[in-house]
């Protein structure tokens, strides 16, 4: 029993915690939870808690016997919802095989493995996500379009607006769980919110995103509204992206920064961006994993549909934010394709892998795009060599299928499961007769 574990056990007693939720994430990015009583926790620290993996998406079939969820005591947090009484706490878990070796099906492990690869080359990977989501009135009803809680726009401050109260309470709650919020505001669409998490190492950030989504849903519930991370819930309004700022550090030094270079971007940064661009198509199925993700991605506006980069160009896939003098440590690049409904562990893993590949192979960075990519004609884009990102889940699957990079990164098990699951999703989607078809054809055909 180490000090961390002792601390957890002591806190449980002092704070009269009756249940501890052990959290982990399935391959599709759904948060899973096993509740245990404090008495069982001591054993869980030593050996993990056995559970039936076959019930969890993507975990089945690695082996027949039970899997183990082993709580990470450093992630211990008391859950701050007021409704929960007596108190509840949570810890993130690593998923282990029965012999104690890490499971290949655990997304957290996928990211850890990739981070370890980066660490071998001396890099630590930091991310900072801007998470967008919608607040709707009431729970979703089948067949009914959702109703946003307000009609505000970008940065609108709506007096007594639900969104405002919501953000205040949500942020308080996040901070009380040790998740620092950088920034929050009303986003462009009605009911749409954006909350930016402070930059942190990618594993913590991924854990934080999982917590974040859960907290948002809880707070919304307590206020009688519904929070959704669906990438594109409203046809006529922008979808919810998760623009993610990325940087690599070598020890204390930002490896992306080079004083005096163009945009202060080091060779490492340029190759990293080139890696992102080069492999953008292959990793899209992971960063944008749902049928609905492509409604956002191909829907214009600020969503990037073409593989390009630019300095402070909001239509580019990779944007290099304006450099702030004397802030060399904050040099970073922003990847704008991921959406808020991705599995953050897998998404960060493939993003990092793509960037590292660029560094390893010393990819050259093509010229940046200065125009609004959307306003160009198809011919212009072709002439400029701007390849489109996959326009549908089906195209994304096809691009991923032949990717050694993604297979290596996710591991063969997750790679195989993910593709099978996504193919099935696409097949299900294709056989639907949509509202669009009924509206357009039924009355005239």
């Amino acid at each position: 029993m180490d000090k961390q574990q002792e601390f957890v056990l002591r806190t449980l007693e002092e704070r009269e915690i009756r249940f501890v939720r052990l959290w982990f994430t399935d391959v599709l990015g759904y948060l899973k939870s096993v509740a245990v009583a404090p008495a069982e926790l001591e054993g869980a620290f030593d050996e993990g808690i056995g559970f039936d993996g076959s019930a969890i998406e993507g975990f089945a079939r690695v082996y027949e016997s039970d899997m183990l969820a082993k709580p990470d005591p450093s992630s211990f947090q008391i859950l701050p919802w007021r409704s929960e009484s007596p108190g509840t706490a949570r810890m993130f878990c690593d998923i282990l095989m029965p012999d104690g070796t890490p499971s290949y099906a655990d997304p957290r492990q996928v990211l850890k493995r990739t981070l370890a690869k980066a660490a071998e080359r001396g890099f630590a990977f930091y991310t900072h996500p801007e998470i967008e989501f919608f607040l709707f009135s009431g729970a979703p009803t089948q067949g009914q379009p959702p109703v946003p809680v307000d009609q505000g726009g970008y940065f609108d401050h709506i007096a007594h607006g639900t969104g405002h109260d919501f953000r205040r309470e949500a942020i308080t709650m996040l901070e009380s769980m040790g998740i620092s919020v950088e920034f929050s505001h009303h986003e462009g669409a009605p009911g749409q919110q954006e909350i930016d998490l402070r930059y942190a190492d990618a594993l913590s950030t991924a854990d934080n995103i999982m917590t974040f989504r859960h907290v948002m849903k809880q707070v919304a519930l307590s206020q009688g509204v519904y929070a959704s991370f669906m990438p594109k819930p409203l046809t006529d309004h922008p979808g919810s992206g998760m623009h993610t700022h990325l940087s690599l550090f070598e020890g204390e030094r930002n490896a992306f920064y080079e004083a005096g270079a163009k945009y202060q971007l080091s060779k490492v940064a340029r190759s990293f961006i080139a890696g992102l661009l080069n492999h953008a198509g292959e990793i899209t199925a992971v960063t944008n994993q749902w049928v609905n993700s492509y409604k956002r991605l191909s829907g214009g506006g600020e969503a990037p549909a073409y593989v390009s980069w630019g300095h402070n160009n909001r239509s580019a896939l990779v944007r290099v934010p304006m450099y702030k003098p004397a802030k060399g440590q904050s040099t970073r690049v922003e990847l704008r394709s991921p959406d808020s409904a991705c599995n953050p562990y897998l998404a960060f893993a493939v993003i990092l892998a793509a960037g590292l590949k660029g560094i390893e192979e010393g990819y050259d960075l093509p010229d940046g795009a200065e125009d609004d990519v959307w306003s160009l004609t198809d011919g212009e884009r072709q002439a400029m060599g701007l390849a489109p990102l996959p326009a549908s889940l089906s195209e994304a699957i096809r691009a991923m299928e032949s990717s050694e990079l993604v297979a290596e990164t996710l591991g063969e098990h997750v790679f195989d499961f993910f593709l099978r699951n996504k193919r099935a999703e696409w097949a299900d989607y294709r056989r639907q007769v949509t509202a669009f078809e009924l509206d357009r054809y039924l009355s005239v055909l």
Binding site: M1, D2, K3, Q4, D46, E47, R61, V62, Y63, E64, S65, S74, M97, P98, D99, G100, T101, P102, S103, Y104, S402, A407, G411, E412, H413, F415, D416
Partner: protein, 1001 residues
Amino acid sequence: MTLGAGRAASARLARAGFTEPERAAAALDTPLLAPLMADDEVMGALAATADPDDALQGLRRVIAAEQTPEGLVAALREDHLLRDGLFAVLGASPALAEHLVRYPGRWRLLAAGAGVRPTAHGLRQTVLRAVGADPAGAAPVAAGAVPAAVDALRVAYRDALLGLAARDVGGALEVADVAAELADLAAATLEGALAIARAEVGEAAAGCRLAVVAMGKCGGRELNYMSDVDVVFVAEPAVHPDGSLAEEGAALRTATAMAVALMRACAVTTAAGTIWPVDAALRPEGKAGPLVRTLASHVAYYERWAKTWEFQALLKARPVAGDMDLGLAYVAAVGPMVWRAAERPDFVTDVQEMRRRVEQSLPAAESRRELKLGPGGLRDVEFAVQLLQLVHGRTDDKVRSQNTLEALEALSTYGYVGRADAAELDRAYRFLRSVEHRLQLYRLRRTHVMPDDPVELRRLGRSLGMRKAPVEELETEWRRHAREVRRLHEKLFYRPLLSSVARLASEEARLTPDAARSRLVALGYEDPVGALRHLEALTEGVSRRAAIQRTLLPVLLGWFADAPDPDGGLLAFRRLSDALGTTPWYLRLLRDEGAVAQRLAVLLASSRYAVDLLARAPEAVRLLADDEDLVPRSRSHLAGELSTSLSRHEDAESAVALARAVRRRELFRVATSDLLGVASVEQVEEALTDVAAATIEAALDVATRAVETTRGSALPTRLAIVAMGRFGGHELGYASDADVLFVHDPLPGADDRDASDAAHAVVGELRRLLAVPSPDPPLVVDANLRPEGRQGPLVRTIASYAAYYERWSHAWESQALLRAEPVAGDIELGKQFVELVDPLRYPAAGLDEADVREIRRIKARVEAERLPRGADPALHTKLGPGGLADVEWTVQLLQLRHGAGVPGLRTTRTLLALGAAAEAGLLEAAQADVLAHAWRTASRVRNAVLLVSGRPGDSVPTDLREMSGVARVLGYPPGAAGVMVEDYRRATRRGRAVVDGVFYR
């Protein structure tokens, strides 16, 4: 001196043991030395040194360096303690001789009365005074210029070393005492270096408390003459007089500067030489971590991140310099964690790994002369003792000593190690350490390599008191002790386990059952209670068998522990022993042929299949004795053996039973060579095919003879058996059916009906004989690939085959015929059959589009339909994507289309055809490599599944135990089952991508 006198002097010197008497005589021929030479006592002392020549040359130089040498010369004649001490040093260490030359007058340190063993405290005072610091101060600071202090430190260190060496080589000290004093001297030196560091940092030094904690040999008070001194630095902000704390960041920066200065003061080479490097790499995070940490930071690290081996290192932590309160607080805080290391979840795996590291350290040839790291070297002992301390120190604080020899003694006293074994190891360790000491003392160099120059060996041997034949004696002693140490794991880890179950008549303390269980668990046994029960059964009683097994088991237990299933191995050994224990050769084989026992242990603890084969015929153990016997027998060899022995059997059933027994023995041979990694997958499958072919051929002979006997006449027809499928391709697995076609051709003038009846009778008899129930593994002869399948006649005439193929043949039949190869029966007829089918399987015009489409369609269907319900396609070796069928169909389609034009494609073997296809440019070489790799991977996994579980299985196992066993058989290290599955998936995924590109389009 006259010439004659010179010659006499030389002769006298030669007799005294000088190797260069003329040179010695010349050296002695000075007014000062000549009188000394006349003194028999002086000469005797000189001659008694390790190297009289060196000693004499040294003496000459020391005297020459003196301003008034008369004093020394006189003292040498009077003070025999000085004489013995000085000569001993001069004869054993030119490095210290150099010190004496350089600093005249230092010989007085060896004079009578000066040779008292100093205390640690005394050494500290001496060294501190030497650098001008006040030993009584709480934080002594060196006085004067730093470079001068650094030089003074070196001189003080060498002075102390000089006194120690004189007592050591003079024989006044036990090796353990030498090591302890060296550690005390190191501690004093670190204190002196710290005083210099304080002077260097200046006033800021008061802002922090810095403790130097020794680890490794210095921590264990068992240091060498020359080695890195391992330390860890702990610092805290100082407490101001007003009770407030200094600022932590600044304090740590100061402490770091002091630590750096301390290390430099010890390691830097100045005009006065160097001392030794201070190594701080055992600190948290190793070289990447901060040099100095606070106590809390150390503790936090060990609580969260440390690995098992780091706790092993902590075992020796001992504060030696600087702030002692802080040092003690550090030891008090991290010490208990050491003993909790054994509770860590990965402890068992880590221990296994560390154990392997000990065993596999330095395999290279030069390692044979390594005293420390070589097999049977010092580190073996140290590591093993520490591991036992970690396992048992958790519950028993009596074995927690920091010192190797003390720990060994405690382990023996309290029953964790046999007393005699411990005593023997103690002797070996002391011997090896003495050799190491003398070796290093010579030049004060950090060396652990036993010299091979006879001159050096002679000196080394003499310094250890070997006088008659120092070189030979030294080599023999060394080999003997190293041999004892090499059998260390048996002695330390396993033999005591027996004492916990065996009722041995001895007063020795026994390992308690509890301790035995925790040790078995640490060694990788999952069911320690069961294991102890087997041990008890195997060792009880006074029989010869029990006695031999008591000697064997400690070794076997170690080998089982290294294999995937130690518990299964022990159980299987017990069964085997029950079956064979009374057979005289069995125990002799195990006892006398080291390789047999080890191989047996590997088989028993890895493979159910091998265990099952052995259970039926334990005498096959004999095969393990000889490397020759592990090479699979060729087809012709088997055929020869079978035909001679079968001719002795009249009765068909017993004849075939004999053939099947031979097959069983051969299966064991192949399995063994597979498990021991002697044979590649191609060789294994070739051998399995040969065994099946020879068995079927023998059965055909027996069946023919039986039918002829019944008929009373020779067969009216020629009969041949054609191998098909994997059998035809020489790719059989352990449990594969043998696919065949039967063909006959009536002799000229024979009645067709009679010929057909006779052929059917033979084939029927053959199948019956091979299927007679028996404990031997069945060989299923499957003729379902024949024309019309099960509806068709079992045997056809060659003419009937010709007619059938002319009229009815389908593309899939041509494909099946790609694997057709005559395997037994009439050779001529076999050839005719091949000639008949060649145009079908290698059609001159290739395949038309319809046929190609048909084959692809069938393949796609097979993929979808044949897969057993619930099986994960990705893990199915046969039908899964990138599995055996994928690769084989791809190759076969190329064969059908291009076989007529590309001669290399006309083979029944998948890999050969694949190579030929690549060579002919039908697919890229890289694609062929991917397919070959996928095919081999799938074949190996399929074979390994059978070897491990004893049951045929087409899927990569999902049961973790089985999965781990398969991974180990495939050569993966322990704990890499997941990696194996990932590798399998990767190989087959890439294979499938090629299949998609080559087969389907």
